[in-house]
Chain length 232, copies 2
């Protein structure tokens, strides 16, 4: 697999300026722009590894990523799967020295990397920017926490229904989509065995709730899926 590719763009005119850096003056945005690295990762590439030092503040501009941690040899636990317009999912970048979790691209992705020290300097200098980050971090953390709580309250079928609804609504906004993850990754996401994820898919097919061909999924009956997700 090839190396990540570094690109460049103008932060002043970037769509993300309003989303992330809305409270910074032009001169500060220019500083960030000159210091940043915009890196393009291909599907499957690792963006950062748990254990590595945290040097950059990272923002997903484009693509889809999974945040996960290794829980043993050949075993991982997926913490969240997110699209852009979310804060960097590694919510501990401001409190730790090392990454506790890994981040990898599920689809081709573009990540903006800025020295974390520069971001901290900007926060110190500009309180409104700090408040914005505080709000974003607050939201991202809450999303991860509540996702974990929801998973824990459900049985197998309920968990599978939950992720299917998550992909359908939060990620692809469509009843038909290609799963960005393997069955095994779904299992790692919702803490169940791969075999039972597959079994649950088969049952959903049998019951006319969805149609699937490999990773292509079509949800046929949203209502049933919602009921299963809620009662599970």
């Amino acid at each position: 697999m090839s190396q990540p590719v570094k690109n460049s763009c103008n932060c002043l005119t970037c769509d993300f300026r309003d989303l992330v850096f809305s409270n910074l003056e032009n001169e500060d945005v220019v500083r960030i722009c000159n210091a940043k690295e915009e890196i393009h990762y291909q599907k499957g590439q690792v963006i950062n590894n748990q254990g590595e030092p945290i040097r950059k503040f990272k923002y997903l501009k484009n693509g889809l990523v999974k945040l996960y941690r290794k829980t043993g040899v050949d075993e991982e636990q997926i913490i969240t799967i997110t699209r852009p317009y979310e804060f960097v999912s590694n919510t501990h970048v401001f409190s730790d020295e090392l990454y506790k979790y890994s981040l990898a691209a599920l689809e081709d992705s573009t990540v903006c990397c800025i020295d974390i020290e520069l971001i901290k300097e900007m926060v110190e200098k500009n309180g409104r920017f700090g408040l914005k980050l505080l709000t974003d971090l607050s939201r991202t953390s809450e999303n991860i926490i509540s996702l974990g709580l929801e998973i824990r309250t459900r049985n197998l079928a309920g968990r599978v229904a939950l992720v299917l609804l998550y992909f359908s609504r939060s990620i692809y906004n469509s009843k038909i989509f290609d799963l960005p993850v393997s069955r095994r990754e779904i299992a790692d996401f919702i803490s169940m065995s791969t075999a039972n994820v597959i079994r649950t898919f088969s049952e959903f097919k049998r019951d006319g709730i969805l149609e699937s061909n490999g990773r292509t999924i079509e949800i046929l009956c949203m209502e049933k899926l919602e009921i299963i997700s809620k009662r599970g």
Copy 2:
């Protein structure tokens, strides 16, 4: 049960000044001091309820609290149990209008309440204060997230061992302590049935790992407990 009691103290000389408000000027600390309410809750009292509007930034000065959410009639899920010197556990105070979770006192507790708008104003005015909050929020969120992940990777015995070690080390710093929660609350914390929590306690007693009398616990064999917590 009686109403919460409001007290007063001088923030300038408060131990927490260094921990929370280390980056604020004296005049700002005085403003906060005049605007704050210090409220004393008795064991069992609710500090805030899910669904209520978020108006205050709350800081635990003293005591022990549980953060939880209602998941049905007469059912709740405990998200975390914390001592002071942690950021307010409701990590979404900066991103939401309403509390998603409830907070209740497990022991007599003292909570400092400051208008959230005043805190936001301070952040805007003083970036260093904002950076401090960002760091604290980052740490608190990470603790909640990783606790949830740890619970999910363990079987019943492993989960019970985990909470026992948590109380022993993080909360009481002793091998002998009084559990601040019922068996049922432990079950709500680690997503298992009350009966099986009790059963696991009984097995630990039978195996000489701990001694218990009601809520009083003495851990006899830390090593075994650690092994169970890790392999579970």
